[in-house]
């Protein structure tokens, strides 16, 4: 149960390339936090600085009030699960898991108990004497997790641990690892580019872009009410509509899109300014042609199992819409339909942060 604080952490390579810029982040005790971002956003470098593999150019890493910035990785008491699992190929499963305990001078019956305990946690009991090459990918990953759990680290760091697993196994591991982390209460940082993984497992997500945190909040907060255009586009799908502020009254303004105007929460923009409106495909609803906010023609209809996906050409541009598959008859390609939404579903992101 440890609290981790990163203050102004940054890493510059070769004097010019800024991999991480001024990372400020507090991870609460027992919290599961994800660093989510596209490749090259600096999330892995951040994790490596926390683990002690990469020295930061500036900033501090503090765990429970203790400055860790210049401490060697072996004395940080952090457990890392690597993307490649990084198991020791010349050691058995038990030796792999026992290695960290051995380094902590734990011997004999106590060592055996803790290795068995860790194996039981990841449901691999009985595989003690196997070698890594004799295990499947999923089993190797569990060994890598058990190896970290055995040392009861202050902080657990997960570096894209699921990316080598197939989709079904991955979603099972998400649930299992999350339950394990909750039960043990280990402060955890996960680095991933998989938004579904970040959303299913995290208490909070930090969306990273260009070495900075672009968005920080609970999964629902950053999905439903992101404050930057980057986050809106990076997480899930979104429709972008261009509109113009036609009138305003304190905080609420009327935004004219095509021939219709909609009320929207607005910042400091003046009447006459062009603004971008964002709306999620699942917030749009398809109805009869003569009802709804706009009218359009279905150009694409795709069946995704649980969902139907549409692309619809309207006066305000092409809109992407998803509807749940509830067995009802769906409009076909070429049909004219009406599209409805609720007032709060259209969001405006203030232009001063929309460049992130």
């Amino acid at each position: 149960m440890s609290k981790l604080s990163l203050r102004g952490l940054s890493k510059t390579y070769g004097g010019s390339f800024q991999a991480v810029r001024c990372l400020d982040l507090d991870v609460e005790s027992g919290e599961f936090l994800s660093l989510l971002g596209p490749s090259g956003c600096g999330k892995t470098t951040s994790l490596q600085m926390v683990a002690g593999f990469v020295p930061p150019t500036a900033g501090t890493i503090v765990v429970d009030g203790q400055d860790m910035t210049h401490i060697a990785p072996e004395r940080r008491d952090m457990g890392v699960v690597f993307q490649s699992y990084a198991l020791f190929p010349h050691m058995t499963v038990a030796q792999n898991i026992g290695f960290g305990l051995e380094m902590r001078k734990i011997k004999g019956a106590q060592l055996r108990d803790r290795v068995e305990g860790a194996l039981a946690m990841v449901r691999l009991s009985g595989l003690e004497s196997r070698y890594p090459r004799e295990l499947s990918g999923g089993q190797r990953q569990r060994v890598a997790i058990a190896r970290v759990l055995a040392i009861r680290p202050r902080v657990m760091l997960l570096d894209e641990p699921m990316s080598n697993l197939d989709a079904k196994l991955r979603s099972e591991m998400h649930v299992e690892l999350r339950a394990l982390q909750r039960r043990l209460g280990i402060t955890t940082i996960l680095v991933t580019h998989d938004q579904l993984e970040a959303m299913t497992m995290s208490d909070r997500i930090a969306v990273m872009a260009n070495g900075c945190i672009a968005e920080l909040g609970s999964p629902q907060e950053i999905y439903d009410t992101p404050t930057s255009e980057f986050a809106f586009r990076f997480l899930g799908q979104t429709n972008v509509i261009t509109g113009r502020i036609s009138s305003r009254n304190d905080g609420t303004a009327s935004v004219l899109v095509g021939q219709t105007s909609f009320p929207a929460e607005i910042g400091r923009d003046h009447v006459g300014t062009d603004v971008k409106l964002f709306v999620r495909p699942e917030r749009l609803r398809i109805g009869a042609a003569d009802e709804g906010n706009v009218k359009g023609r279905v150009t694409t209809r795709l069946f995704l199992g649980g969902l139907w996906f549409y692309e619809i050409d309207t006066d305000i541009g092409q809109l992407r819409v998803t509807t749940p598959n509830q067995g009802a008859v769906q409009p076909t390609e070429g049909e004219i339909v009406g599209i409805r939404w609720n007032d709060g579903d259209l969001q405006i992101i203030a232009p001063e942060v929309a460049h992130a």
């Binding site: 940080r76 008491d77 690597f82 198991l87 190929p89 290695f99 960290g100």
Partner: protein
């Protein structure tokens, strides 16, 4: 990750062809097509037979020929040469000296070559290229030129001795030419590239995150190297050691020029029997025993280390 099926599937087509041809032979009647792989490998096979197997067989036969000091090689067959070698202390010493020389060279190559490769791997790409040329340098120079160069360096007035004298390490020039020390120094120099290349290859296969994993689990840099990195480098170190040992035991030019008459080894003895004493059967018998000795050492050490580091080899 590297399981057996993957390896056979990943084999180049020209290696997997013959086995496929065999399999087809059982089920299919198209016999002529099956000879294609054999025809294709015929030139290489002929070269191998003509240049290696035949001369070796002839040497083996020669070693059993009778020999008479006055009349030369005789037609009859006798194990006389072998009995002479095995019963004479002079030859025992010769073989022991050769073994010591090869072992010494191998150990120094391991002790220097492994750290050398690790340092090389940490260098920036530009320096890596430069130092690779430096390390591989000895292989690019003719053996005679290189060895004569060393004999200049190692002489009583050579650069090595003047350096040692001016540094105050010794008071008078040490004898390096015509000594075992000198031979081992020069052999180490020329055989080092083989060790470096072998260790380098093993190092490239290493997952860099494995070292990080060991560190994060609480192992210091030294423990990480000893317990995690070194065991995984063992296959590379072993194959390097085998190459170095074999080449050192069968080296001729270096012991002949640097060791001279004083440090006589098996290869120079074979040369003398063939060209000075003209006792060809005895020379051939020494050569066969050298071959057997090398095979014995290589296979033996291979077995030993392979059993010890079984998991790394597969």
């Amino acid at each position: 990750m590297r399981n057996k099926t993957l390896r056979t599937n990943g084999m180049p087509w020209f290696l997997s062809l013959p086995s496929r041809a065999f399999k087809r032979g059982h089920t299919n009647k198209t016999a002529p097509a099956d000879s294609t792989p054999w025809l294709l490998s015929l030139p290489a096979l002929a070269l191998f037979l003509g240049l290696l197997v035949v001369p070796l067989a002839l040497t083996a036969i020669l070693s059993f020929n009778a020999f008479d000091g006055m009349r030369g090689v005789q037609p009859g067959y006798t194990p006389g040469s072998y009995i002479e070698i095995l019963s004479d202390g002079y030859y025992h010493e010769l073989f022991l000296r050769t073994g010591a020389m090869s072992l010494g060279t191998t150990i120094i190559c391991m002790a220097v070559g492994v750290p050398e490769t690790l340092i090389l791997a940490k260098m920036r790409p530009v320096w890596q290229g430069t130092f690779f040329v430096v390390i591989l340098g000895p292989l690019l120079i003719s053996v005679v030129v290189r060895t004569l160069g060393w004999s200049i360096l190692l002489g009583r007035q050579g650069m090595v001795n003047s350096a040692l004298l001016s540094l105050g390490v010794v008071d008078r020039p040490t004898q390096l030419m015509y000594t075992m020390t000198g031979v081992i120094i020069v052999l180490t120099h020329v055989l080092m590239p083989f060790m470096v290349i072998a260790v380098w290859t093993a190092l490239q296969k290493l997952d860099t995150q494995v070292a990080h994993a060991a560190r994060s689990l609480g192992a210091g840099p030294v423990t990480t190297f000893r317990r995690i990195i070194l065991p995984q480098l063992m296959p590379g170190i072993l194959s390097g050691a085998i190459i170095v040992f074999t080449l050192a035991a069968s080296a001729f030019a270096t012991p002949a020029i640097i060791g001279g008459r004083r440090v006589k080894v098996v290869t120079t003895a074979i040369y003398d029997e063939f060209l000075s004493s003209l006792n060809w059967p005895l020379g051939a018998a020494i050569a066969m025993l050298l071959l057997l000795g090398i095979v014995f050492v290589v296979v033996g050490s291979n077995r030993l280390v392979e059993r010890r580091f079984k998991q790394v080899f597969t």
